[in-house]
Each structure stands twice: as C-alpha cells, then as structure tokens.
Amino acid sequence: MSPDKMVRMANQIATFFKTQPGPDQSDKVAAHLRDFWDPRMREQLLSYVSDGGEGLDDLVLSAAQKI
C-alpha cells in the first residue's frame, strides 16, 4: 500500500475516535487496527512509525505503541 494511502486510512480512524467521549481514545484506535488490519498492514504502519511517522495523526502514533 502506498504510504500516503496508509497514512490517510489510519488518520481517518483516528479522526473518528477523537470525536468520541472518554479518555481511552488511543486504546480504541489500537483495538480497531488490531481487529481490522491484517498483520502485514500493521507491520507496515509500525515500520513507518519507526521511520518517523510523517503525516500520521498523534493519536495514531500513540495507538501504534499498543498494537
């Protein structure tokens, strides 16, 4: 998947959970990624994050620690 597309998809998820009430938004993003992204997609995300994670929403960055 192109990095752009991955960043967009991850940020879309973060954008939704950001609007939800409650303190555990990054857990929710992490859970969503675990539930719906196949392992290679999650790996791609993680390696992108370790390369700096340019363009990713902060919520995705913190969720990435939990997947």
């Binding site: 998820i13 009430p21 290679r40």
Partner: protein, 966 residues
C-alpha cells in the same frame, strides 16, 4: 380464517384480497362459513370451497364490480348483488346457484363472447384463459346475437366489417414491449390490468379510455405504445389479465407450461419468490409466487423477465486455463483446470507464505456456496483472506448497526411497511434498486403515510403518480452525517425525543453525552445549511415530522454506506431511530436495503476477513475452537485482507493468488486502474463465473459457473429471510457452483464430501448460533425463515430487538461530520455520484444479455441544465468525464433531477467504465469505497477516451479462446 381447510390448491384465486377483522359467520349454499369482517361474499364462498364465477375480480386487487358475472342471491335483500363487492354480514344467507343468477350469468357471458374471437384452439392462452373457464362454468352453449342483414355485428376483433370495410373498432397488436404483447382484439375491458398497475405496482401507466362499447385499455396517452408509456414492465397486468390480451411472448412462442418449481429471484435484495414454469427443462415463464413472503405475488422486470442470460451464447461451459494473460484461453477438462489451479496456489503459498492467497465470495451465490468459499480460505488455505462484494456496499451497515444495536441485521420484515406512518428514505432509490419493496411502500404512501426523502437527486419517489414526498432534502453528496446530525439536533433541542424509551432501552449516560454533542449550535440546520445545501426550515420540518408522526421507519441504501463516513452515517440513523423510540415493533426500524440478492447471506456466512460465520471475530478463541473442532484445522487468529487491501498487497508483491466466485471486481470496484494493476500483479487469478467478465481479462483459470436455475441452495434477503433456491434444470456447465468449490478444495487435498447443499446447511447450523434451528426441512415446511432461528426463536424472528437490543442497552454514538478528502476545486468542480436503474442489475453481466437493453443500452451522465449550458453541452452530446483517477466518455442527459454542481451516472456497462473515474477513498471503519462522491470535470468530447480504446483492445485480446485440443 386460519383454521379453515382450503380445499383448493395453493394457486386458488379467492377473487378479492384477504381482510383482517373480527370473525363473521354466514351461510353459503347451506354451509356455515366464518371469515374476518370486511371479507367479500365471493372470498368467503371461495374459502369454503365454492367458486363463484367471476371475470373482473382477482385477489391481488380490490373488487370493482363491473362484469356482473358473480351475482348471487341473498335472503332478505332485493335483486342480485355482485358477490365480489358485497361484504359478509353475520347471519347472512347466500345462494350462489339459483336459477335466476344462473340465467343472468349466461346472459353476461353471451354478451362477452359475442365480441370475442372464437379461435380458442390456436390462442396462446388456450387452457389458461378465465374467459374460456367461465364460459364453461356457466354452461354457455350458444350465442344468439345475430348480425343485421348486409352488415356485421359491431365488434373489436375482426379486421374487416361484414361489409368488407376496415373495422374502425379494430386495433393491431402492440408488441413494443420485448417480453409481453397486448392484443386489443381479445380484451374484455375488465380493467384488471389497470387496477393491477395502480394497486399492485403503483405506476398508473394504464387507463381505460372512452366509455361503453368504445372503452379500451390504453398505455399512456393515445400516442403511446407500451414501450413509450410509463410502463416499467413489471408484468403485474399480464399476470392479472384473464385472457390472452396481455400475454408473455415466451408463452406465445413456447406454449403453456406443464410443471412448476418454486424458487427465489437471483437479482436484488428483495428476494422475491417465483414459480418457474416449464415444459420439460425448457423455462417458459417466471410467475411471482403468491405465497412468497417478501413479494406477496409481485415482481419487477428483472426477476420476471430477464432470465434469458442463462441460455445466452456468451456463456462459457468448459473450464479454461492459460499461463499468462496475453495468451488465448485453452479449453481443458475439469481435472486439468483444477489440477493446474491447485498446483499454482500451493506453489504460491510455498514460496510466499500462507497469507499470500485468498478468496472473494459472491453475494449472488447461495449461502451454502459462500460458506464453502470462506471455508476454503480458512480451512484449506489456512488464512482469513476472504472478502465479498458486500465490502463495497454494506460493510458499514455491519459495523454501524453492530456498534449501536449489537447486530448488523436489518430490524424489520418487509410487511412492516404496511404499519408505518412516516418513512425516511435516505441514499436509496427503491423504485429502481428495490422495485417490489418500492411498490409496497408506495401502496402504504397512497394510504396516507408520509415520506421524507434525503437524496442529492430528485428520485422518482419524490414525486410520481399519486405520491409526493412531504419533504425532499437534496443534500450535497458527502454531507450525510451533517444532515443526519442536524435532524437529531432538532429532535433533541426541541424536546421531541421519546425519553421513556431511551431510559428503558438505551444507555442513558451515553445518551447524555450524545445529547450534549448534538445540541451544540454548530449542528443546527441553520449552521449546516451552507455546507449541506439543505434549507434549514425544510430540515426542521422533516425532523419534527419524523419524531412526531407516529411509527417512523428508516430505509437506506448505498447512498449512505458508500462514503468515507458511511459507518458514521449508519450510526447516526440508529441514533435517530432510538431517540424517537422507533425500534422493536412493527412499522418502525432501521432497514438497510441490500443490493444484491444474497448480500445479507454472504455477510452472515463469514465472508469478511475478520469474522467467522455469524459475525464472530476471528480473535475469539472460543469461536475459533468451534470451527477447529468441526474442520480439524487450526484457524488463523489474525484478521485477513479486505478486497482493496488484497489489491494493495498484490501490487506490493505479498499477495499472489485469488479465487473469485461470481464477482466482477474489475468492473464493480472503484478505481479500475488500481484494480487492474493489482490483478495484473498476481500469479494465479481464478475466475468462477457464467461469462468471461471483465475480471477474467486478468485471469489464468476460468471455471464455468451455474445459474440460480441450475442449483439447490438458499438466499437470504434484506429482511434476513432465508429463501429456498431450487434446481429447475441441470447445470449446463456440468456442476453447481458449490460442487466446483468442493472440487477445487479437494484438488488442494481437502477431502470434502458434501453430496447436497442441505449437508452444508447442517454444518452452518451446527457452528453458527443464529442458524442453529435452520434445516431444509423447516424451510420447506414454513416456506422461508428469518434468522435468528434457534432454541429461543424456533420459527425464526420477523422483528429484531423486540424487548431489548441484542447487545443489551442501545448505544448512542457521537457522529461528528468530517468532510471527505474528495473535494471539488478549479480542476474538478463538479461532484459525481453513482446509482443504478431498474432494468439493469449491477455490472449488467446478466441483464445486458437480455432484452432489458431496450430500456438502457448505455450509461449516460445526468447533468443540470445550468452546468451543461456553462460547458456548451446539449442533451445527447458525447462528453468527457474526468477525475484525478482517470477519464472516460459517455453521453450527456441534461436534466434538473440533479442539482447544479452534481452529476450522476450508472455503472451497468463495461464500455463506460464509470469506475475509472471513482477514487480509492473509502469508509474509515470498513474501507467501503466512496463511490458516491468524486470530484470531476465534464467537457465536450468526440469519442471514446484513450483508456477506453486501450481497454477494449486489451479485453478483446484476452478473450480469445483456442479450440479444445483433441
């Protein structure tokens, strides 16, 4: 009455519709009969086994009382009332066969026959004509009318008068409709057709023109024929006609059928039941089945008439293989094709790992077939790489309703619409997409229910014969969430919510959060008007009507789901239903209108990469264990790839092989170039289909498929109704689709040994709690079953969430509007949205191969006159349609059905390639593609685009077939 024994076969025409009411007892010809109040004497007699002669009455429409063949005598009443229009009364004493009524009937019949040709033996309705039957039943033996000297009797059936001149009353046959003909010379002007068109179909295409002897049936105005009139070719009039006047052309050609099999339509999610009527294995006609609970005896043009594709010469009947897609196809034996496919797939897994191959299940195939395809991925490939075309239509429904109510299931049955008071239709176009449901909805609207339409286009429901929406909110594509949230804002801030219901049924704390959220002035219709284009006052009125108008029901379609916020909109709709107390009884609910016939079923059967059958996540060990026990394998606990992820992974090189059953992803999925690149990057693409579809241009193995007429199984329609599909004829390709999947699995070493789909259903029931009670025997017995069907609901479940939500307390979820990234700008100033039309179905592979093309032979682009004028475009011009993904050409249709700034097209034809234009943006939760919003530019053009030309050259090349090697 229910407990009445009906001594006639299931096709008995009771003459007038069934009624509901308190029991009334009367005496007919000495027998006591008890029927509900409001029932006609004719129906009461018929239920007791006594048929009264009739011509103008039939039980699909209200009685009219015009032929007077059905007269009876009633003690204590004067004269001879028509039994079809006379309601029963307690203690009534009826005589159906007095000498007086017999004489009247003979007289009536004689008059009819005097103006009817006597060519029964060569008539297409011979043996299937009620006029014939009635003449026999009343004992008509001669016709005494005599022509005056030197002239003929005035009549409608002779081309020339007795004096040898052209008969001014005669009219030629109207054969303009491709499926049925209208022969006015045989018409008895009973007006059954006119009433069927009005009451059953709701189109009002027919009228009786003129009076007395001059009266005749007319389609549209006097200048119209059937094809040019408003007729939508549903066939209700043909079915209602007692004579050969309106007759299926197939019956005229092939003769009257001698046997029939009840089965289920394979087109849309309404899931109409049909009687397939045959001679031997030749299908003569399809007649909607009166006892079908989804359709109640009605159908649309697709199900009734568009079955010709099954015998079309384009069908591929032999397996084919090739090493690369630039080679021609080579016809081979099943063994060779399956061996070739299996060794390729195994080779890929060996080299690239377990997760490098996958499957796509079909929403057109049966539940049993879908179950096997996902089992192939999970139990043989040992991964979860299974997805289905529901990904691209209703996956957000699964997520959104799952989150709020606890199950993705639609809440109602179709009958529920008969009890609804306010209908909110959003992002759906039922008269085209779900025609039989639309007919039932329109019937309810004509009875006075109110309608709110939320759609960028002025769809037919907004205003058509005897229907007018109370409110049409023509929103800008992509702003669904803003509109739905504004509706909620009005309901909450004006205090119109059903607080008692919310306290009892929902999570009250979550509602508080939600109420605080929607009450914010930025969600008010006044604040969102600029963004959505919906006038604030109109939106307020619509919200008030929905909240206070009685039973409120929401029906929605792909205009809701196919957006980057599709899942959020579904949640918003669930919120609306909960806050107004509209879930859990008849007449209300949240109802997804599913696209293809078995979208519901394919989702139920575990087609999604994260869910095992019955919507249970693969991460749950207790669920995996059930299947591990049953299949003797270890189930992968990680979610697999979704269709678009598979294509991405293919381009990246980690996904190499796919088995696609009955889907044409190259035509149906967005961003065609991306799909093509993904397919081209794979080493083994196996297409299992009826035709060499567009996807097959990139395939290495082609396995011929079977039609719904050629196999046994079940489909599950939009109301969760499991309907039987019955084999009407032997598969022309040799195997039903479930057998083909089994052969492929076994070629890979699976060792499956199903001998009939009922065994597959038994496995589904044994592993899936919501299907625990489902068996073929039970479906046979009940006709159909709505899941959940288990110990708690042994006969199935028409209504969901009756006492409590499936998840316990209903959840209100905050629905913040987020603008899609797909924005108009100077280069692409217009918004393209897509849809479908009545006569064509999905990618059109089937309907394009039938006469339905007379209604739609190409996709056109609807554009507002204002936008057309700015670009110097006229109706019918070739135009170029471009987005940042690609461009194509098609013809323009200038119309104010679309708002300025919005253009619209369908995607039924591969030459148009509308999906070259659509982008890879998708729903945030489910990756359901955003078909409904693409920024585009439209300009004049003089022919096909370069892509279209390249594409058709490539398609041409890749469809070559070498003759089989001997």
């Amino acid at each position: 009455m229910k407990d009445m024994i009906i001594p006639w076969d299931e096709d008995t025409d009771f003459g007038t519709p069934a009624k509901e009411g308190k029991p009334v007892t009367l005496t007919i010809d000495g027998f006591d009969v008890t029927v509900p109040e409001g029932t006609s004497v004719m129906r009461a007699a018929s239920e007791a086994g006594m048929q009264i002669p009739k011509l103008c009455a039939t039980d699909s429409i209200e009685a009219f009382g015009s032929c007077r063949l059905c007269v009876v005598e009633i003690e204590g009443r004067r004269g001879t009332p028509a039994s079809c229009t006379t309601p029963v009364a307690d203690g009534m004493v009826v005589h159906t066969q007095s000498s007086k009524v017999k004489k009247i009937r003979k007289g009536v019949m004689e008059l009819y026959i005097s103006d009817h040709p006597l060519d029964c033996l060569t008539c297409s309705a011979n043996g299937d004509c009620e006029l014939q039957d009635m003449a026999g039943m009343v004992g008509l033996r001669d016709v005494r009318y005599e022509a005056p000297e030197g002239a003929g009797l005035a009549n409608h059936f002779q081309t020339r008068t007795g004096a040898g001149e052209a008969n001014p009353e005669w009219r030629p046959v109207d054969a303009s409709n491709p499926y049925f003909s209208f022969d006015p010379s045989k018409c008895i002007v009973c007006s059954r057709c006119v009433r069927a068109c009005e009451e059953v179909q709701g189109t009002f295409a027919l009228t009786i023109e003129g009076r007395g002897f001059d009266s005749r049936v007319s389609a549209g105005t006097s200048l119209d024929d059937f094809l040019s009139s408003d007729c939508v070719s549903c066939g209700a009039c043909v079915q209602a006609c007692p004579t050969a006047t309106l007759q299926e052309k197939s019956v005229i050609e092939l003769g009257t059928p001698e046997r029939s099999v009840v089965t289920t339509c394979a087109y849309c999610g309404v899931g109409c039941s049909f009687k397939a009527e045959l001679n031997g294995d030749e299908l003569v006609r399809m007649v909607p089945y009166k006892h079908g609970k989804a359709n109640r005896g009605h159908s649309c043009v697709k199900g009734r008439f568009a079955y010709g594709y099954a015998s079309h010469t384009d069908r591929i009947l032999n397996p084919m293989i090739r090493d690369s897609v630039d080679q021609p196809w080579k016809e081979v034996s099943w063994d060779e094709a399956l061996g070739f496919a299996a060794s390729k797939l195994k080779g890929i897994q060996k080299e690239h790992g377990r997760r490098s191959i996958g499957v796509i299940t079909s929403s057109r195939c049966t539940n049993e077939e879908t179950f096997l395809v996902q089992k192939l991925a999970r139990g043989v490939f040992l991964n979860n790489n299974t997805d289905t075309c529901a990904r691209v239509c209703h996956s957000p429904t699964g997520y959104g309703l799952g989150q709020t109510f606890g199950t993705s299931a639609g809440t109602q049955d179709f009958d529920s619409v008969e009890k609804t008071d306010v209908v909110l239709v959003i992002g759906a176009n039922p008269t085209d997409g779900h025609p039989v449901f639309a007919s039932r909805l329109k019937k309810r609207l004509r009875q006075g229910a109110k309608l709110i339409v939320v759609d960028p286009r002025r769809i037919d429901l907004v205003k058509s014969a005897h229907i007018k929406a109370a409110h049409h909110l023509p929103l800008r594509p992509g702003t669904n969430v803003a509109v739905v949230t504004s509706l909620a804002h009005v309901i909450v801030t004006e205090g119109l919510m059903d607080e008692a219901y919310i306290r009892e049924r929902c999570d009250w704390d979550e509602f508080q959060d939600y109420a605080a959220f929607v009450s914010d002035p930025r969600h008010s219709p006044e604040a969102t008007e600029m963004l959505t284009g919906v006038p604030a006052e109109e939106l307020r009125k619509a919200a008030r009507l929905f909240a206070t108008g009685g039973n409120g029901a929401i029906y929605y379609g792909l205009g809701v789901t196919e957006h980057s916020q599709g899942s959020t909109t579904v949640m918003g709709l669930a919120n609306l239903a909960m806050m107004t107390g509209n879930v859990g009884r008849n007449g209300v609910g949240v109802n997804p209108l599913r696209g293809q016939n078995n979208v519901q079923g394919s989702c139920d059967m575990g087609s999604f990469p994260h869910e095992l059958p019955g919507y249970r996540h693969v991460k749950l060990p207790e669920v995996r264990e059930i299947f591990e026990q049953a299949w003797g394998v270890e189930i992968d606990p990680e979610p697999g790839l979704r269709i678009n992820n598979m294509l991405d992974a293919a381009v990246d090189g980690s996904f190499k092989g796919i088995y696609i059953q009955g889907e044409d992803i190259l035509q149906s999925d967005p961003d065609t170039k991306h799909v093509a690149a993904g397919l081209a990057a794979m080493e083994c693409v196996i297409v299992h289909d009826l035709f060499l579809n567009e996807t097959a241009n990139y395939a290495h193995v082609f396995l011929p498929g079977s039609t719904f007429l050629e196999k046994d199984g079940t489909f599950t329609n939009a109301e969760r109704r499991i309907n039987m599909v019955r084999k009407v004829m032997a598969p022309r390709n040799g195997y039903a689709d479930w057998e083909v999947t089994q052969l492929l699995a076994n070629a890979m070493g699976a060792g499956w040994d199903y001998t009939h789909p009922r065994e597959i259903m038994a496995e589904i029931a044994a592993t899936t709690p919501s299907f625990a009670g489902v068996t073929y025997d039970l479906i046979e017995e009940k006709g159909s079953i709505q899941w959940p069907c288990n110990e708690a609901h042994p006969e199935g479940t028409p209504l969901m969430h009756v006492d409590a939500f499936v998840r316990g307390k209903g959840r209100f979820i905050v629905t913040e509007y987020v603008a899609t990234d797909e924005k108009t700008g100077p280069r692409f100033p217009l918004l393209l949205t897509t849809g479908r039309i009545l006569s064509q179905y999905n990618v059109g592979a089937q309907t394009r191969r039938t006469e339905n093309v007379v209604w739609h032979d190409q996709d056109v682009l609807e554009i507002h006159p204002h936008d057309a004028e700015n670009r110097g475009l006229k109706d019918g011009d070739w135009i170029r349609l471009a987005s940042r993904s690609g461009e194509t050409t098609l013809r323009a249709k200038v119309t104010d059905r679309v708002s300025p700034g919005v253009v619209y097209t369908t995607f039924h034809h591969p030459d148009t390639q509308a999906n070259v234009i659509t982008t890879d943006f998708s729903d945030w939760a489910t990756n359901c593609p955003e078909y409904k919003v693409t920024a585009v530019q439209v300009s004049a053009s003089n022919g096909p685009s370069e892509w279209q030309e390249d594409y058709s050259a490539q398609a041409e090349r890749s469809r070559r077939i070498l003759p089989a090697a001997e």
